[in-house]
Every structure is written in structure tokens, then in C-alpha cells.
């Protein structure tokens, strides 16, 4: 038998199969990396979206935008209280002392919707990152793209949540105290 031909065709076949796997995996990794970058921008846009809602419905002046970032993580976590008190009400009345309390319900509904929307977008960002890690680390794609860099994503949460996640203890049970 023509041993040379057999070896040659076998090597070529293996090379084609491996090449296909490598190219497919590489393309998928690049696509995911791009999607993660885009999704990060989507998440960042929520900050601005929520600020605009507060600025319009709470009649808060532009000059307070900088200070808004301090309460943003708490709003995102739903720790904003109600019309009788809490982070959001306190911040709005400080920024706009003439705020009409009767408008709070409507503002709260919009904030709640944005918060859930943001959570879904962060969830998608996490999912994309998870998929990216799986694609890079599973065999046989890991042979070709295993060494590519991990992508750093930021999940917005407050210091309180970070402490709870690190310690596993939640003592702050009275967070909605009036």
C-alpha cells in the first residue's frame, strides 16, 4: 500500500479538522469579547438613564449629578426606602428642598423599572463573560485560545453588599428604617 499517501492524507485530514476547530473557537472568542464590550456600554448607559429620570421627575438640578454616583449602587440594589424616608428621598429633598412628595410614587416606579432593567443587563454581561470563560477553557478550544486574556467586568454593588458577600453575614436588617 502507498504508506506515504496514507500518512499524508491522514495528517492533512487531522490538520483540517484541528484548523476548523481553532478558527471556529477563535472567531467565537473575538465575537464574545466584542459583545462584552458592547454590553458594558449598555450597563454604563443605565447610570445616565437613571440620572435623567431623577433629574426630570425629582426636578434635581444638573449640579448634583456628581453626587448622584454615591447613592447609585444603593438604588441599583433597591435600597432606596420610601416616601417617608430612606436614601432616595433624603437625597432628593437635599438636592431639591421644594420636591413634591406626591410625585414620589411615580418616581419610585420608574426607578424600580430601571433597576430591574439594569439587573437584567448586568445579568447578560455576566452571562457573556461566563460563556467567554467556558469557550476559552474547554477542550479542544482551550488548545488554541486558552491563553487569551480574561475580560474584567464590573458588577455594580454597594460597599454593604460587598461586605456581606465577603463575610457571609447580613447584620443590616433594618435598612428601611424610617
Amino acid at each position: 500500500m502507498k504508506t506515504g499517501i496514507i500518512i499524508g492524507v491522514s495528517v492533512l485530514t487531522i490538520a483540517i479538522i484541528l484548523g476548523t476547530i481553532g478558527i471556529t473557537a477563535s472567531n467565537k472568542e473575538i465575537k464574545l469579547r466584542s459583545q462584552i464590550t458592547a454590553q458594558k456600554e449598555v450597563c454604563e448607559a443605565f447610570y445616565d438613564k437613571m440620572w435623567k429620570i431623577i433629574a426630570q421627575k425629582g426636578q434635581v438640578a444638573e449640579q448634583y449629578k456628581g453626587a448622584f454616583k454615591d447613592i447609585y449602587p444603593q438604588l441599583i440594589e433597591g435600597r432606596y426606602g420610601n416616601e417617608k424616608g430612606g436614601t432616595l428621598m433624603k437625597w432628593i429633598t437635599e438636592s431639591n428642598p421644594t420636591f413634591d412628595i406626591s410625585l414620589y410614587k411615580d418616581l419610585q416606579l420608574s426607578i424600580e423599572a430601571e433597576r430591574t432593567g439594569f439587573f437584567m443587563e448586568q445579568k447578560r454581561l455576566t452571562d457573556l463573560n461566563n460563556e467567554h470563560r467556558i469557550v476559552r477553557q474547554t477542550f479542544p478550544a482551550s488548545i488554541f485560545i486558552g491563553s487569551r486574556e480574561d475580560i474584567q467586568i464590573t458588577i455594580v454593588s454597594s460597599d454593604a453588599t460587598k461586605k456581606v458577600m465577603e463575610s457571609g453575614i447580613e447584620n443590616d436588617i433594618d435598612i428601611f428604617k424610617k
Partner: protein, 370 residues
Amino acid sequence: MIIYGALLIPFIVAFILYKYFSHQTVWWELFIPLAVTLIFTFSMKALIEVVQVSSKEYWGSFVNRIEYYEAWNEYIHQICTRSCGKNCTTTYNCSYVAYHSPYWQIITTTNETVGISQNEYSRLKTLFGNESFVELNRHYHTNDGDEYISLWKNDSATAIPVTTVHNYENRVKAADQSVFHFTEVNESDKKRFSLKEYPQIKDYYKMQSVIGDSSEEGLLADKKFQYINGLLGHKKEVKIFVLIFQNQPIDAAFYQESYWSGANMNEFVICVGTDKERNVKWCKPISWTRSELLKNEVKNFVQSQTKLNLDSLAEFTKKKVDSEFVRRSFKEFDYLTVDPPMWSVILTYILTLAINIGLSVWIIRNEFEE
């Protein structure tokens, strides 16, 4: 990816043929098992994935027209050939009369066709009350079949909601590594929380919209929601369900969400918890829609009711869904990799092995020899 391990089998087979059956094997025959296995494995992977990600969603519309096609027959003239020995064929007349059965169908406002029974046709014909004859000018043999149609007058009194089924790709359901994937609900949780089964299409095109409430109000509300589904089904690409849970904690809604895998991409499911006196205890809308405000508004509306009032919920939902619902495209989950289940991987390996053994036997026994 483990499924592609089956591609190693033809290499092993080729080695065995080369080593132990070199006299019965021609060099190019060694690549037959490889080529067949390549095609087979990739086809299996593609087929399994299509089955895994295939999901059904339901669209609402109204009956726009009903049609009755009478039975008829036609003469099919044809000449056939038959063998009369070696290198001999004769022709003969094999013409026949083809009989076409009568059938009844509805055409929806979305131009879909659904077959119905004669009785259902009669019922709808009476309701519409404007049956007319259509001459089809067929080339019939002895029985000329024509058509009768009745048209919907576009009024709500005679509006008949229709539900039709459509396939779509749902990778979330199949990708268990995704954070959007819902865990399976076991039988004991299904019983514990009285979880609702997904309603089936009954009587050709009818589907329940209010589930878990057999009271008179519940039945009336079901009709109203079916109407809303017919009205908004095409316009907003939405399907609304209301699930009533009596004496259940809100956990039931979370389990229901998992049980229905977060619902289909066009659905808006309103889960409502009540006590025996129909006092509202909680509400949780389930939907993939990006309109979170809609979910919150419906939730607040239901929770603001003391006694559950499905009629006002129907009105409110109709208005809000019409203005705010945006169907989510599952194309955005295309990034998810779907791994085939272990049983299908094992099946692929077994079938690949069987194919390779069969081909090897053929290679050894055939007339091609080195």
C-alpha cells in the same frame, strides 16, 4: 465538543485495517470510514442542536374567514410502462379517478390556515351569517366541488380568538451553563405550589388564557383575555396569560417561572396570589420583555386591589401592553453554546462504531484488493 471525539473511531479503524487486513484493503478505502464519520458526526451534532433549541410559541389572532371546500373528483390520464422481460418494456393505460375529500378551514387575521371540523364550520357559519358560494371552475370528472365562504364583519361581538403555534430558537432553555437558564422543577414542588401546566390548543384553535380560576368571574375573564390576545397578538406579538394561585406564597410564582423556563419570548404572564376569599396577596409578572415599567405597573395595579378583579385587570393590561410591551428577540442569546445531552453523545459514539464496523466488513469483503 465531546461529541467530536467520535471522529477518532475511523482513525482507529483505518489503523486496524492497515495493520491486519492490508491485503484486502486498497489505500483509498481507508478514508471511506473517515469521510462517512465526518458527515455523520457533524450532521448528528447539528440535528441534536436543532431539536434542543427548538421551542414553540403561540400567536393570537381572530378568525377572518371560514371556508368549506366540497368533495370532488378528477380523471388523471396517464400512461405507465412495465417490464416484459430482458430489454423489453410495454406501455399501458393506468389512468384513474382521484377523489378529493371535503374539508373545512379557517383563515385568521394573520393569514394563517387552520383545519376545522364540519360541526365547527357550521357553528361559525351561523355566527357570521353571510355564507356565499364561490365557483372554482374545476376540471372535474363526475363530481364538481366548489367553495363556500363566510367572512368576519370585524366586530367584537362575533370575534373568534384563534391561537396558532410557531417554532422559534430558544438557546436559553438548552444552555444549562447560562445564568438565564432555569433549573428544572421536580414533581413534589409542582404539587406543593400547585404549578400550572402550559395550556394546550383545544378544539383546533382555542387556548385558555386565565388558568387556575374556575369561578364564573374567572371564565368571563378568560374570554376577555382570549379576546385581548386575539387583538394584540399580531399587533404587539404578545400572548398574555393570567395564573391564579390560591393560598400559595409568592415562591409559587418563582417556581412557575422556572417550570415554564421563564415563559416564551412573546409572553406576558401575570401570576396572582390570593386567599380563599379572593383577596390579593401578591403579584409577579413573568416576561422576557425589556419593558420593566410595564411589569411594575401591572404588579402595582393588581396589588392595589383588595379583592381580585380580573375584569379591571384585563382592561388595564390591554391598555398597558398595547402601549408598552416590546417583544424580546432571542437572537441576542445566539452567543450561548449548547452542549448535546450525554445520551445523544453515547448514541452518536455507538452509531459511529456500528457504521465503521459495517464499512470495515464491506472493505474487507469487496472485490478491491491490494
